[in-house]
Symmetry: C2
Subunit: 199 residues, 2 copies
């Protein structure tokens, strides 16, 4: 016996989400059947809303429902700093830290010749235009991930931006707070030693 068609369709949809296999999808589908009508309607509308009401900020490339985004249009942010991230969700992580008051630039990925991603596929030109048009910027903080591609992208950006007399920095890499030295991987440990600071 097959599941009734509406149930089978919902299971299929749940299975398209990352980390959700068939068993979990079945469990979620049956849970959905028992959910409040209202909650399911809200769920369906919010799914549609993220595809229709969201756009990319024309300045920084963040995901937003207003253009420019909340951050770019906030006059209290420090316009002397631009922090460069790979993805919009990296901005959310930085903002949740509540320690950075500057602006952002989303690259939309990292340079990756293997995957055919070159400088023109990222928002690099846009970033350079922003730096040229806005003489206020004094520091570009490159916050790409610590992958080989992320590192290469950081180096590439540094080379492009430094001639404009703008300071280019990179987020510190080292031991995570609370992490045991015993369990740290070699690369992390090496970075922690290289980046050691006087106390």
């Amino acid at each position: 016996m097959q599941y009734p068609k509406p149930v089978a369709n919902l299971i299929d949809s749940y299975m398209k989400l990352p980390g959700i296999g068939e068993k979990t999808a079945v469990r979620l589908a049956f849970f959905t059947i028992d959910m409040d009508d209202e909650d399911v309607q809200e769920f369906a509308s919010s799914l549609k809303a993220v595809k229709t009401q969201l756009q990319y900020c024309s300045i920084c490339g963040n995901i937003t429902d207003t253009n420019p985004c909340e951050i770019c249009s906030n006059p209290h942010r420090n316009s002397e700093q631009i922090l460069v991230v790979e993805q919009p969700k990296d901005i959310m992580a930085m903002e949740n830290m509540h320690g950075y008051q500057g602006l952002y630039q989303v690259l939309g990925g990292v340079l990756s010749p293997v995957n055919g991603v070159g400088p023109d596929d990222l928002n690099i030109k846009h970033l350079l235009h922003r730096l040229k048009d806005n003489s206020q910027v004094k520091e570009v903080i490159v916050a790409t991930n610590a992958t080989p591609e992320g590192e290469a992208t950081a180096m590439y950006l540094a080379k492009l931006i430094k001639p404009a007399q703008i300071k280019v920095t990179r987020l510190a890499h080292g031991l995570a707070v609370g992490a045991d030295i015993e369990y740290a991987d070699q690369m992390t440990l090496q970075r922690a030693v290289e980046g050691r600071q006087q106390i």
Copy 2:
């Protein structure tokens, strides 16, 4: 900074699903933003469909999009057996086994005085009517779960049905296929010994 409203709403919706905490919900929401438009539309429609197109079978209480359900309306099923389950999803599990050809009855739960669930809250009267109206039934297989409530419900049903000269059986409990005796819990092991069979 808060997530843009459409994203925050979707995160809230995902968090209403079982086993999905905030971090996973955020990950799923950002994944959804990058999904194909079509897939998201389908997801939204299938969510609505399970609330609008599904109903309970008027005979067995299974979840179905046709009434009576596919099983109750199938003339090839053996109408001499009725297998009693707690929930519609138990029927799906039995059907996936491909070894049972009889009919079903969904109770809609188990007797649980602590939670205020009495015989009138379950489809027990409906089951008794089915047995009375249909003299073909020769066996009722009680497949409630092996919890204290499931056991009590099985005993209760047996007491009600036996006077009608209908055989009442219970699914065998014992070691799962492939399970190690070493790791089996005491109750399971006890059931396995009690239910031992000659070879």
